[in-house]
């Protein structure tokens, strides 16, 4: 089969690989019909995620057709059209049984801190991902679900990560009616978080980024007010002014380890890898932009090492910080309703479709933010 393969920082190619085999009785093999590239993939692509091995296939957002099932699989049949959460989860550990599917304790041998994730380095379990023609899906009875007839393929693939993560990010903000919410980052996750904040009764939604074309999308897709941080000498102070020197009630960090905007932080973290956890520029802006007693939601991805986070301000201001990888399965029933009712339209964020054979171009365009790219999809050759 054809599969995207990592060759070192900023380098990938498409190679011939063996079709994955059933390795556990509850595995399924899924033929991928549509996949996506996520902002999280960029952290690996840039060489910022430890234990990203040469030869690894990335990709954790995908839909497909069940090609083969293991002996203990009960809920899926060959030929089923399925969408698969990016979390690999067992359904029976302490965490899964409490709905924390992203924290599954039985699927990541490499690290205790995070559950298994498809195609997300050995730090997240060493599973090959779905930017390929076939993928091994462990715990086929737990994660995947049938794609409802009314749902478009674009919505389905965005519902495996970006949409639930935006929606979950807004929930982690504990928004109450009338709250002022600032979203840092106008990527797919930030845009969906901004739109979701309204569903939870936000009184004002502000989106911050430095890419004008994405901010334009934020105004149209999420009906948000927008600020390009490069146009202000001090974006935190601007947020204070915007809120009559009160600060926002909630800030959602949807940027993660490679935040831009502070030359020193960016270069030491992203280029020189001296801050192994990544550059917390946007997180620090979030901490400083909310009012005392406010809430910070962190869904941006960071590395497992240290970063220069402003703990003092967090503590002195009495902030509450919530974060997690998104337990996707838990968001689905409600999110499906919202998509069906047209309250959330994730498919509107898709700007590009790259054939798997041209995925190298897809990564460069998405990583460098060229050509108005917001969400790039990947179409496997056999799809």
């Amino acid at each position: 089969m054809r599969a995207m393969v990592y060759r070192g920082p900023y380098k990938i190619r498409v190679e011939e690989k063996d079709i994955p085999a059933i390795e556990h009785p509850n595995d399924a093999i899924v033929r991928v019909t549509l996949a996506a590239i996520c902002g999280s993939d960029l952290h690996m692509y840039h060489g910022a995620m430890p234990d990203t091995r040469i030869g690894m296939t990335f990709g954790h957002e995908f839909i497909g057709v069940v090609e083969q099932v293991g002996s203990s699989v009960q809920n899926l049949q060959v030929g089923d059209r399925v969408m698969v959460p990016f979390n690999i989860c067992c359904g029976s550990c302490w965490y899964c049984t409490r709905g924390l599917y992203s924290n599954c304790n039985n699927t990541n041998a490499n690290h205790y801190a995070v559950g298994g994730i498809y195609g997300y380095s050995h730090t997240a379990g060493g599973y090959d991902g779905a930017q390929s023609e076939y993928v091994r899906v462990p715990f086929a009875d737990v994660g995947p679900t049938l794609i409802p007839d009314w749902m478009s393929d674009e919505d389905a693939v965005l519902l495996t990560d970006a949409a639930p993560t935006g929606y979950f990010g807004a929930q982690l903000g504990d928004i109450v009616e009338g709250d002022v919410v600032i979203v840092f980052g106008a990527g797919p996750v930030g845009l969906l978080a901004a739109r979701s904040a309204w569903l939870m009764g936000a009184g004002r939604v502000i989106v911050i980024d430095h890419l004008d074309y994405r901010l334009e999308k934020a105004r149209e897709f999420a009906q948000a007010e927008t600020f390009n941080f490069t146009e202000y000498r001090d974006i935190v102070l601007e947020m204070k002014k915007q809120t009559d020197f009160f600060g926002a009630d909630v800030a959602i960090e949807a940027v993660g380890a490679e935040a831009d905007g502070a030359f020193f932080q960016h270069v030491t973290a992203s280029k020189l890898k001296l801050q192994g956890g990544g550059s917390p520029v946007a997180l620090n802006w979030a901490i400083d932009s909310v009012r005392k007693g406010g809430t910070i939601s962190v869904v941006g991805g960071f590395g497992p090492l240290f970063s220069n986070v402003k703990m003092g301000d967090l503590m002195n201001k009495g902030l509450t910080l919530h974060s997690n990888q998104t337990p996707v399965k838990r968001q689905w029933p409600r999110l499906f309703e919202h998509v069906r009712n047209g309250y959330l339209k994730p498919r509107e964020l898709v700007t590009h479709r790259f054939p798997l054979e041209h995925i190298t171009e897809g990564y460069h365009v998405f990583s460098s933010k060229l050509d108005g790219c917001i969400k790039p999809l990947v179409v496997p050759s056999a799809a």
Binding site: R7, G55, A109, G201, H210, T360
Partner: protein
């Protein structure tokens, strides 16, 4: 104002927002959101086991020593090999996730792994090609210049570093090979 008991008022009332934004407030009740309570017992996760069957190991699978035992299911991509594999096995066997040495060794192994593969790729029919593998040619077909300039982009300030970070090691390696070869040739001639 924060200097008095009242919060600064917001411009639009809830009714106005409900009118303007489709779906405003459908999840208004903070208690009625899918992840409102962090821990909620799930009636049916799909699992029909208390503890999953164990996936057989094809090689002694490296694992975090913060785990009591090897998890019942694990990924089988890219088994550790070569010098990078030795470093990775050491990082896992000796250091918990709480220790920086664990991660710094893994990062070191990543760089060693990349060079092991770049070098051995030159012995194959498909050597690494930094032009095609970086997709940099899409700069010409995907509006590289107009996407970047005149757009207030923050990354313009440090983008000049990218070619150095990405191409620098390749140029250094090429220079080493070239100067080594030149020395050999000179020695052979003298």
């Amino acid at each position: 104002m924060a200097y008095t008991p009242q919060k600064p008022p917001i411009a639009e009332s809830s009714d106005a927002l409900r009118e303007r934004i489709s779906g405003w407030g459908v999840d208004l009740d903070p208690k009625d959101r899918p992840s409102a309570r962090r821990l909620v017992f799930q009636e049916n996760t799909g699992a029909h086991w208390q503890f999953p069957e164990r996936q057989p190991q094809k090689w002694p699978r490296e694992r975090s020593i913060e785990h009591k035992f090897l998890t019942p299911v694990f990924g089988t991509a890219c088994p550790p090999k070569g010098l990078s594999g030795t470093i990775r096995r050491l990082a896992y066997a000796r250091y918990s996730e709480g220790q920086s040495a664990h991660w710094l060794l893994l990062v070191l192994a990543d760089r060693v792994d990349a060079w092991e593969h770049h070098l051995t790729s030159f012995l194959t029919l498909r050597p690494d090609n930094p032009i095609t593998e970086t997709g940099v040619l899409s700069e010409f077909t995907r509006h590289g210049l107009s996407s970047r300039f005149g757009q207030h982009r923050a990354d313009l300030k440090h983008q000049w570093l990218d070619p150095i970070v990405v191409a620098g090691p390749w140029l250094a390696a090429a220079w080493l090979v070239f100067s080594g070869a030149r020395k050999l040739v000179r020695r052979a001639q003298s």
